[in-house]
Symmetry: C2
Subunit: 474 residues, 2 copies
């Protein structure tokens, strides 16, 4: 409430045209228009149709895979069909990782098949697979404390159990083992690596995800077990006898691939060169159809931009929707966009990416200049009825706008409810039925409101080369 | 309450030794002993250890498969380790169905892979698979109303959506399509059959289960799609373009196999030839590890019998635990037991099988003679604190005691809460983590109470050749 009172005071004291150092503000007309957009979003069919059609007509979108070009063509066509003023692509080049198949089983003491997925970036096992004795660690720090003596020639297993939370905070500890575990295990002489899935479900579906090897690391095959299979392995380990695992992964890097970020824009009526940037990433892991990760994100952004485009008049600034390429293997679309637009940071007045599913947004954090905090509070007036709380300033990181954000672009963090997200994330279960159309449209409402208000704001949000380098406060 | 008052009256009026036509009754000492067993069951480790070890050390138990003999040997050893007085096996012969692998995909209009499982009993497709246009029906009655003209040369799809219920009543309509759909589709000239899984979950795991062809039926390949994949197929069908499916099933009947029912017994101290029969089925479908279907059932029965065996004195009648063979493909263990023991119906004084998971029992129905209803009500006195309600008399069918029950054996129906059962049933998700040890032990308590009281009862429950043939009333 303190923030709202402050804003009321500011609205009286400030001039219409903001200059550097002056307070950014939003007009009552813009706020009224945003409230209308918010209410219309509730029944808007565009975003749900977007993700439904994308998952139905294209499906899985592994970066560089068979569907990569098809998915980009599909988004170009859909952006045009939605009436965006300008649609284009910008190239993104990355190593192409391919999954051809995988099997895992316990050989001893009790033969059993395991539900497994190779991790992205994993090399293949030798043809026919490899077998080894399992050495288990409860988490990544325990592996860090291990010596080569304990690990050499064995298959390292990390059994960290991820717990569900609205803000998904346990994903960090769970994925450290996935991203850094294989490289560390390799340095300790392990022949392969498996982990308990970084997921909060009890389904017999493994959660894949990227693992990272640096150029100097030995690379070893690495895979995730479903949680029930991790339980099974741990029960055998608990009996105290040696456990032998067989791993047969057919996957690996196959040269370079050039895909693209797909970009659509609603051109601004007064400041077309200034833009509000929103988006999601178009690539997905391959076992599912990339509904929640991250068809939903692109759909939310496209739906919000389309809703704004239905107004009688284009907003003052442009609204840009970006479907980023290959987020999953290491933010390649983000980095390519940052490199291509590094001289345009100031023109990107505000941005936000959606990449945490399709459940309602409950918090808005920000990385904006202090003089724009009043405008953010004005946005909150329109967003509060949607159940959005104000988060801190300086804490938002931008997702696929990470490169631009690090370069000085102002961003919002629009945090979705992640309680169930990690039940399905990076699994075959990432399918359309996990998306509730009403919840998706709450997201569309939030994006439409903030994007429209940022486009109409008098003054900027602090985007400038080198801004925010010391802004973390939350 | 009426029943309880009646029982109290009976206890005063009746003689200790019941004769034909006289009322069956249970002594206060037996009731007190049963209450003690009930309370001890809550923390008893035997049943959970049974199903944990069975699923860990053996795993999937497809009838006639690699684990069939191993599983029987395991149960024999465990029954002996539990101190049962007598352990033996009785042969069960049946056609052996083998699953080697399966794939399905949508070829047009939008290529997508599908999560699929061949149905038990399905023949293979031609090597390399078959393709065909999909003709969809909402349920089995709709297929029954179809003409050959609509179906000939196509792949029939039935899209019945099963809904969860405590008593699982929607499984009937859902499985009619599975059991009878392929044969009917074949008679109409279809080249293959797929259905929406008979399951209540939204996981990308298909639910398998038996399908039935009579000797005269043409056999066509038949498979189940996971629910999200059925959704996907239906979205494509809803677009109105022809949908082409490819199905590649490698499976089929490979001759006959002789397995066995595994039987363990606690011998009665007064009437060892009279017995209370309890059990579950040892076989399971192969994608999971057969925890809820039906490792739990065997575990509950074994746990209850073991608990009774810890009493200072053996019960008056014997307690027999039966781990039935091959229930899944068509009650072969049931039928073999019925054939082997058809002349011993009267000796099987009362029985109940557990085959609906591991959630709490909430209802006890019965098929007993009227003169035993008072004794059933006495049992209810001990069971009511466990949350068990009284169901009707004449409605219990006996599960794997179906043959014996049809021949005149008195049985109880101890209905478990099936709300979540069909989320996991016949899928890879049928794993130990779906079992809650406390809930499992509620079942052990119920089985221990009823089995002990039936073993101690003065008088019988009506088991006799030809009894109950007109008993359905509920």
């Amino acid at each position: 409430m303190k923030s709202l009172l402050l804003v009321t005071g500011l609205a009286i004291c400030c001039t219409v045209s903001a200059r550097e150092g002056e307070l950014t503000r939003i007009s009552p007309e813009a706020l009224a228009g945003a409230a209308k957009l918010r209410d219309e979003a509730a029944a808007d069919p565009v975003a749900y149709a977007f993700v439904a059609d994308l998952t139905t007509q294209i499906g899985p979108r592994l970066a560089g895979g068979d569907n990569d070009q098809r998915a980009r063509d599909w988004v170009v066509a859909r952006f045009k069909a939605l009436g965006f003023d300008k649609v284009w692509t910008e190239p993104v080049t990355y190593p192409k990782w391919v999954r051809r198949g995988e099997h895992a089983s316990i050989v001893a003491p009790y033969p059993q098949s395991l539900a497994v997925l190779a991790l992205g970036g994993s090399p293949a096992t030798p043809r026919g697979g490899l077998s080894g004795q399992v050495v288990a660690f409860k988490d990544f720090p325990a592996l860090k404390a291990a010596t080569a003596e304990n690990v050499k020639g064995k298959i390292v297993y990390i059994g960290y159990r991820m717990h569900a939370a609205r803000d998904g905070h346990d994903y960090g500890p769970a994925t450290t083992g996935r991203t850094a575990g294989p490289a560390l295990a390799a340095r300790l002489g392990a022949k392969a690596f498996v982990l308990r899935s970084a997921g909060t479900d009890d389904n017999r579906l493994a959660h894949t995800g990227i693992t990272q090897f640096s150029a100097n690391d030995a690379k070893i095959p690495a895979a995730a077990l479903s949680n029930p299979d991790a339980d099974l392995l741990e029960r055998m380990l608990a009996e105290g006898k040696p456990v032998t695992l067989k791993l047969d992964l057919d996957c690996g890097i196959e040269g370079q691939y050039t895909g693209a970020n797909v970009i659509g824009q609603i051109n601004g009526s007064e400041h077309p060169d200034e833009l509000v940037a929103i988006g999601g990433h178009l690539d997905s892991w391959d076992p599912g159809t990339g509904a929640i990760d991250d068809g939903a994100g692109v759909a939310i952004a496209a739906g919000a931009a389309h809703l704004i485009s239905t107004l009688p008049q284009r907003p003052k600034r442009s609204i840009r929707v970006i479907a980023f390429a290959n987020e999953e293997a290491g933010m390649f679309g983000d980095r390519a966009y940052g490199a291509a637009h590094q001289n345009e940071v100031a023109r990107h007045v505000l941005g936000a990416e959606s990449d945490f599913g399709a459940a309602p947004i409950w918090r808005m954090s920000s990385q904006v200049k202090p003089e724009a905090l009043g405008a953010i509070d004005q946005m909150m007036q329109v967003l509060a009825p949607l159940g959005v709380e104000r988060g801190g300033n300086g804490s938002a990181e931008g997702g696929d706008f990470g490169s631009m954000s690090a370069a000085g672009m102002a961003v919002l963090g629009l945090t979705q409810d992640g309680t169930r997200y990690f039940d399905w994330h990076h699994t075959a279960n990432d399918t359309l039925d996990k998306i509730d159309a009403k919840e998706l449209n709450q997201n569309v409402a939030v994006y439409a409101v903030f994007a429209y208000l940022a486009a109409q704001a008098d003054g900027d949000f602090g985007s400038a080369p080198g801004a925010f380098s010391h802004a973390k406060e939350e």
